[in-house]
């Protein structure tokens, strides 16, 4: 049930003939299973299947898209249930969200929340000051019920497979619980080793010690450290992982001679780095990770270009992921060259690139992915995972990269209820884009149907080796 909140033609092109075509394309992919190969859902949901506690905890407090917009208009973190001495009353947090919901006009968050309220909870009125209580009550009543548990939502959403993103130090116990349960959902971990690769991370030295413990390898030497990664990757793979993910400030790579790499590791391990060593070590490790992928077949993802914790005060008082991560300019051409020259022609490697700097779409990423056999382009990421952002990606990257060098959609979310909405937005935008291609006779109509299915489902399965 969609109700008045969601128009059946939403996000489809304005021109009537193009809309008609887009509608047909969308209908052909609307109900395909959801493939979610990259995201941040909590493994505990899948392992323990706990009920969600309250509407604010589900929709407001953990969603940095929501909290950042409210922050920008002067709402305090405390009023959103964040920080010491914060508001604890979920209903009051919810009312604050509702009072400011008008701020989201024209943003992706509004689409995602409207969609969840309409399709998941059956509302036909928009959230606002006057509807806040009514909606709160209805959601609060549903949350304890079995059909609103994480696993039930997975099934209701039609998810075929979902990947979480997990620290290299994680014991994957929740994944084991999900696997060993009688539930049939497919949940796989993703190897994200930033905390043991980035010397700028707090507790880096301690993390290396923990890595030694969980891997059983001696991380006091570079060889042992690399073995530890191999061991952890194998453990992730055994639990179903098909991919790694690397969140780096820049896409810089390098390929140092062995002795230099050993010496570099010793400096960063012992806490005596030279200037530039942290960046150099991250760069070296991207190439090492790519080499390991040749052996174990894990697909590699690179997310770069975000300056984390732009506000030192917010970082200190309210923690990370509060909306204060801001993109910076990046360039891939020179940065990726060492890694690519080392292993880029090897057919065993898949490296999926993501960017927050859209200037790289047409200038660098499409030309790179359009020639290097290992490279694929990830979908629009973070702030660009939106109607306009997705259109820009298609318009700027596809002519040079080619559709087959992309990997479908990632919802990339920690907000469970937004998953179907996000995939739905992507399917609608892509259907509209394909319809425009047909109307302007750049592709045939029957091709468009094939490609719609690729974008909505098949390319993700293939690229992530799921």
């Amino acid at each position: 049930m969609e109700g008045a909140l969601l128009h059946p033609d939403r996000l489809l092109p304005a021109d009537p003939a193009t809309r008609q075509l887009a509608r047909g394309l969308y209908q052909s992919v609307e109900a395909l299973p959801i493939v979610s190969p990259h995201g941040h859902t909590d493994p505990k949901w899948w392992g323990e299947n706990p009920a969600f506690t309250d509407p604010a905890a589900l929709f407001v407090t953990p969603d940095h898209y929501v909290t950042r917009m409210l922050t920008s208009q002067g709402v305090s973190f405390e009023a959103l249930g964040i920080g010491e001495n914060c508001e604890r009353d979920s209903r009051r947090i919810w009312q604050t969200f509702a009072d400011h919901y008008y701020l989201f006009a024209g943003t992706p968050s509004r689409i995602w929340v409207d969609d969840a309220l309409a399709r998941l909870f059956g509302f036909s009125k928009r959230l606002g000051p006057d509807t806040a209580n009514e909606i709160y009550d209805a959601i609060a009543e549903l949350l304890p019920k079995p059909e609103t548990s994480p696993r039930a939502l997975y099934d209701r959403f039609g998810i075929e497979v979902i990947a979480t993103t997990d620290s290299a130090l994680d014991d994957l116990s929740y994944h084991a619980m999900a696997r060993d349960s009688d539930w049939n959902g497919r949940v796989v971990p993703t190897y994200r080793p930033d905390s043991v690769i980035d010397p700028d991370v707090r507790d880096f030295a301690e993390n290396l010690e923990r890595l030694a413990e969980v891997s059983g390898c001696d991380t006091n030497t570079y060889d042992g450290y690399l073995d530890a990664h191999r061991a952890r990757r194998a453990a992730f793979k055994a639990m179903g992982a098909t991919a790694t993910d690397h969140g780096h400030p820049t896409p810089q790579t390098t390929d140092l001679p062995y002795a230099e790499a050993c010496a570099l590791y010793e400096r960063v391990r012992s806490g005596n780095p030279n200037a530039g060593d942290a960046e150099l070590f991250r760069a070296q490790m991207l190439t090492e990770m790519a080499r390991m992928s040749l052996d174990d077949g894990l697909v590699m993802q690179l997310h770069s270009g975000s300056l984390r914790g732009h506000s030192a005060k917010v970082q200190r008082d309210y923690g990370p992921d509060r909306g204060f991560d801001i993109p910076v300019p990046v360039s891939f051409t020179e940065a990726l060259r060492p890694l690519l020259n080392a292993v880029g022609m090897d057919p065993r490697l898949t490296l999926i690139l993501f960017t927050l700097d859209e200037t790289t779409y047409a200038r660098e990423l499409a030309p790179l992915a359009g020639v290097w056999p290992c490279l694929r382009l990830g979908p629009p990421w973070w702030f660009h995972d939106s109607y306009e952002g997705m259109r820009r990606f298609r318009e700027m990257a596809m002519e040079t990269a080619g559709i087959y060098n992309t990997v479908g959609f990632n919802d990339d979310t920690r907000a469970l209820c937004s998953i179907p909405a996000r995939h739905d937005v992507a399917r609608r935008v892509d259907s509209g884009w394909l319809a425009e291609m047909v109307v302007t006779h750049r592709i045939d109509e029957c091709e468009a149907y094939d490609i719609a299915r690729l974008l909505a489902h098949d390319l993700a399965m293939k690229a992530y080796r799921l």
Copy 2:
């Protein structure tokens, strides 16, 4: 009267249903009062209300958009009445303009001039070689009349308030004359201290001396210098100012310890700067200006990213503002961090950002304004104050920044007759954009009407504290 020059549906979307909606939205804001919180009209116009002298002086000579296009096609500055030994015959300058008016096809200047000729002077024929004389005569006849005086135009244009941009050294006497007259127009100054903040400005040392004189503060010390700013800001505020404006080559900020800031000031004041000191001092002063804004409530504007005087010869022989200011790449994320970490969470601060590098819209400015409570996004500036430029701004910035973190429109002009045309273009483009949002069901129709009014009027009043 618009005549054949201006189509009533100009700049509205092509799709018939979308155009119908856009027309309704436009009609709802078409006649709203003009709020002009940032621009470069001559305060003398408002203080003395002098008649304009001739058509060329009104439309050609001072308009760098006009002169730059003619220069690009080989017309000399002299032929446009600029420089030593230049053409003095206004009619001949006008004829040169008319002969080359075809060059402006598809440019904002053509829209602005057509609009002024049609709506202000009642012409229904376009300017060209054959109509030049007829149009010249008609304008020349009207200029001496009272209804064509600056204050009469202010009233005819439906201006509610207009801000000028004024040197920190200005005595604001024209503003006083306007205020003390029996005219009811609201003209406010804006504090623009570049000439006493930028050590690279010619006569910087002399300007500091003049600052001491006009402020009564000793500018030989950093404390006295800061006090001089406080005094001048207070004087501007007393004359109605609600904002400051800062035109810097880059958006770099810093927040030096007091002793370092004093030493830096001493070096730039005494003409003995180290390499990088000029940039560092400008950076430091942006943070100091922000701190003063906490106290006096003046809204802060930052315009950066233009390399002024790209041609040394033109700068020398024909002066500044001749069209030879060319944008350079900028990045805000790192640059603004010191200022923002110093005062960015303080609810008393409003800092409005402008860019000439559109790559920063989606990558940096929208993410920044979408979270920092002090930040607001200024409208498309300078070369981007155009049909396509405004559309790009909406499409690239709104999904992440949110509409409420913008400040409506600035005409930013020194060409009085272009003011209604510029606001009209903005209202049309925004109506078209909103109509497309409605047709694709991203916002509701009633919301679009509310937002249209915000964009055309209310957001500017609120953001600039008018």
Copy 3:
């Protein structure tokens, strides 16, 4: 005959009224002669008029757009007939191309190949695994016939003039053969001196010696070296050249004092450069080339921003121009300033700028070309020579640069059969853009017809002084 492969309305806008207008505009320019002032056709074709050997050699092996896409999906260079021990059977190469032709959906290559197969060879079925043989046979049968020879194609395509791009060391003998033949085609060379200007080029020292030989000037001194350029430019001009072309990594220019320039030349000539000398010498030579253009009237073209040979292995094993040239960020504002301040106001100079970094369109190139009398904007280049790329160029550059500061279209191709397709795409996209300008009342309909003709034909003739 276009057949089912090409829709008559392809690439025209979706909105029916706009399409109707666009169709009229397109029909008015569809049959205009082709002006091709910049490209890479083989002079031998024009001088000797040899028959093309086989379909793969015509469409696959030399086309880096084609090979790069196949490489990106794991097809080996060998399978495409490139490299030692490569496939020699043209039919099998063709089959590989056909088997992977689906990869080109939505790319410019698909449009170009479809167009050539339909309009030149009369096919109505698309290339694919099942049609490969049939199409191969038909083309192979046609290639030996006189009407498929290069000169016959020139005539059939309606080319008015075509420029090749030629090394400064080339003896232009093929141009002489074409000139001296009884064929009436107009083929002119373009002076491309990169191999004797760029110290990073392999065999630079040897090239300088050859330059001395072919010019009769002593290249052991800077003066002699500059004279050698003058002599070669004169020889090119005598053979019909109207332009030079410079392919530089960056657009950096400089204007060194004479003694410094001499010393710099001595260092690069003798193979003892300091760090940065190669870039500095290229920068100096751009200004020297501009100065020579003042004297001899050759129009100057600057193509910059490509990092050549991104894969060292591909460069080594398969040579240059294999699709591994990747753009990097560039900025023109500071880089061009020395050259422009030296000669930029001289009415004798025309300097046409090309970019692979689209961020420079609105930020730098349009503002620069919209004021400097010597500057003109080249059309979208390389990866941007596409439906979306051309639209972005129009939308981002025209409002500030002005239509008259552009130079029409370049096909820039080494693929002879793609020439009419490429010009046709440009004419369609421009017709659509102009129609949208008319429908939104930014230009008048009659103006649009005039401008369509300028863009399709006249501006190129004028800018290149043809």
